[in-house]
């Protein structure tokens, strides 16, 4: 059941849509090429999960966004995610941006925070240097399809030596399964800059009884000495298929932090990769996932070391209920010449039902002798000794298990940089774990 994107038609359609939106020629061309590629390339093939069995065809069609004039006009599901008094917020609803708010103070420092469509028009040259440079449009059908149809999105540029104190927040909201929902997030942190970016991907469960797909790509460029903290929570309804590819290229002494909450109710492909290009570059990735019903999750973290003395750490924690499954891949690759590199990864799955499935696959690929690397993986159920210990203090079995499960996820949850998002994550976990 693969997408039969009839090449000609789609190329024309992609180009026509791009032109109708007034996109620059280079982008129109890029979309056309990508559409053609999407017709010939195959879907990505993650380990042990056959995504081609998922409903990948429901990419919908473009829906003209209608901007709102106040946050109060946004749907409840969006409003509850907004940090009170925030100055930097972009909201995408279905196919385009409906709210765009950015502090003039940051703008005056040369920081750019806008939707990517606007950025392509207003900062075309800058965007062109980076767009689809970390993730190539011709990697597979997913990247090509995304390149052809992406919409809304985010562009962040932080100039040299500028430190953005407050988090930049984005919310991607879907309440129309017929609408193409394919944000692209592009973050460029120039030398010695610093920025925290936080987003949520959410769909209106009531409104979305039809299948839909969220093909998204994140590209982050961490220039020498820069520090980017990226945090995202995905909470789409059961009918949604999430395919999110994230990639970062980290230069000398750059630091990348990924904090990812894969909490969708539908099938999820989540692939997060750091390319540690520079000497002394550093990447830290933390991923949590909770699966329920018959949901399938393919969660991959990767670190590829080119730089000397580069350092990576990857932690994935997944809790699987019912007959949900999580295939967790951790790949640490250390290239020849990356001396003194250090790569560590941990994948743990907690299964709450006999039918739940967890699979942790740590992989170390090392082509250099002078390195250190380590991995730990475990798949198991709630430890009965721990439950007994807590119950022996009068805590009920249900509460004991709850404490243990939250404790299992705590190493990631406690790292979420924005209070409102952390609170949202807590509520979400409660809903998913106890619902």
């Amino acid at each position: 059941m693969s997408t039969q994107l009839s090449t000609q038609a789609t190329r024309q359609a992609a180009e026509a849509l791009a032109r109708s939106k007034g996109e620059p020629n280079w982008l129109v061309e890029l979309r056309g090429e990508a559409a053609e590629l999407a017709g010939t390339l195959g879907w990505p093939k993650p380990e042990k999960v056959r995504i081609e069995r998922w409903n990948l065809t429901a990419v919908g069609s473009y829906e003209q966004p209608s901007a709102v004039s106040a946050i109060s006009e946004l749907p409840e599901a969006v409003r509850e995610l907004v940090t009170e008094g925030t100055e930097n917020l972009i909201v995408q609803r279905n196919s385009g941006t409906v709210w765009n708010q950015f502090s003039s103070e940051l703008a005056s420092k040369g920081v750019i925070f806008t939707d990517l469509e606007t950025a392509c028009k207003e900062h075309g040259e800058l965007v062109q240097n980076y767009l689809f440079k970390a993730v190539a449009k011709d990697e597979d059908k997913l990247t090509a399809l995304h390149a052809a149809i992406w919409n809304g999105g985010i562009f962040v540029y932080v100039p040299k030596n500028v430190e953005v104190e407050l988090p930049l927040q984005a919310i991607f909201y879907n309440d129309n399964a017929e609408a193409t929902f394919a944000p692209h997030i592009l973050i460029v942190a120039d030398n010695n800059s610093r920025v925290t970016y936080v987003d949520c991907v959410v769909s209106e469960s009531g409104a979305n009884s039809a299948p839909f797909v969220h093909p998204s790509i994140v590209e982050v460029f961490v220039k020498p000495g820069a520090h980017v903290r990226f945090s995202t929570i995905h909470q789409m309804a059961e009918t949604g298929v999430d395919m999110s590819i994230r990639r970062s290229i980290i230069e000398n002494d750059g630091q990348m932090e990924w904090i990812i909450g894969d909490l969708n109710d539908g099938n999820t492909l989540s692939d997060t990769k750091s390319i540690l290009k520079g000497t002394g570059s550093n990447s830290d990735a933390k991923v949590i996932s909770v699966g329920k019903n018959a949901q399938q999750n393919s969660l991959t973290t990767q670190a590829v070391h080119f730089g000397k003395s580069s350092d990576s750490n990857m932690v994935t924690r997944a809790v699987m209920k019912d007959s949900a499954s999580a295939i967790i891949n951790g790949i640490t690759k250390i290239e020849k010449g990356a001396t003194k590199a250090n790569g560590v990864q941990t994948e743990k799955v907690l299964m709450l039902s006999p039918k739940a499935r967890g699979d942790a696959n740590p992989i170390l690929l090392i082509d250099e002798d002078d390195v250190t690397a380590g991995h730990a993986a475990s798949v198991g159920q709630v430890n009965p000794e721990q439950v007994y210990y807590l119950m022996s203090r009068g805590i009920s079995k249900q509460d004991a298990e709850r404490l243990i499960i939250y404790g299992f996820l705590a190493p990631v949850v406690s790292e979420i940089p924005v209070e409102a998002v952390r609170g949202q994550l807590q509520r979400l976990l409660e809903r998913k774990l106890e619902g």
């Binding site: 000794e385 119950m391 009920s396 404790g407």
Partner: protein, 259 residues
């Protein structure tokens, strides 16, 4: 109500192998009982079976706390009924802070609608921690994770102090404790002595009993209490070991359930 705890003909097995072969013991509020005995005689099994450890199967007998049979209850119900076991090997629970755990436990004990406010709880916890000379940072550490043996034992006593149980079992609370820690832990226990509370102290060594004076001392061998007496019995065991007891009772191998 005055605490009254009766263990009546308790038999328990692990993996189908009988370890406890009929334990009878009566503890009243205000009393401290010590159970001594060499390794492998069933002392810790008694503690675990009373608390309801899932690996131990009670095959016969009763454990009546103020008339209610604990053995009919789930583990949490036993705790709420007033039983507390300071464990020899407390579990480590990553991601759950000590203070969150303590508050959950205390609120479970107080019952719905009577929960303690956060401020009151913190004040109470900090006060008890001070008595036990615990570093305040232990409140924010994950439960028992990375605690030394002595720190875990102090944390057990901290829980006992907060939960105010009516029957306390201390399972080898003295193992892994240096003299200072032993003194502090013993002070904690002594401060909890009251007419409403009974203690059952399980130990290898008489050392602990220099700090906590028992009213009754029992010797356990082969899964039974084979000899009972007053504090002088503990002293004699300290001085002469267990051989004379074995000789007196004609026991060759004191252990039970060993392969």
């Amino acid at each position: 109500m005055a605490t009254h705890f009766v263990i009546d003909g308790l038999k328990a097995a692990i993996d189908g192998k009988e370890i406890l072969k009929g334990i009878n013991l009566e503890i009243k509020g205000g009393e401290i009982h010590a159970i001594m005995g060499p390794n492998g005689t069933g002392k810790s099994t008694l503690a675990s079976a009373l608390m309801g450890h899932p690996k131990y199967e009670v095959t016969e007998g009763k454990a009546l706390l103020n008339g209610e049979d604990l053995l009919e209850m789930s583990v949490d119900e036993r705790a709420l009924a007033g039983l507390f076991l300071a464990m020899q090997y407390p579990s480590e629970i990553p991601g759950v802070t000590n203070s969150d755990f303590l508050r959950s436990a205390l609120n479970a004990r107080l019952g719905e609608g009577n929960e303690i406010s956060l401020i009151k709880f913190i004040r109470k916890m900090e006060g008890k921690m001070k008595e036990l000379e615990m570093n305040p940072e232990f409140a924010h550490r994950y439960l028992n994770e990375g605690f030394s043996g002595g720190e875990k034992k102090r944390n057990e006593i901290l829980q006992m102090m907060l939960l105010d149980p009516s029957i306390v079992i201390l399972d080898e609370i003295d193992s892994g404790l240096d003299i200072d820690a032993l003194r502090i832990v013993s002070q904690g226990v002594n401060a909890m002595r009251s007419e409403d509370r009974g203690f059952l102290i399980i130990t290898h060594y008489q050392r602990l009993l220099n700090y906590i004076t028992p009213d009754f001392v029992h010797v356990m061998m082969q899964g039974r209490i084979v000899k009972s007496g007053g504090p002088e019995l503990a002293e004699r065991l300290e001085n002469e070991g267990y051989d004379w007891v074995k000789e007196e009772l004609g026991i060759v191998d004191e252990t039970v359930g060993q392969a």
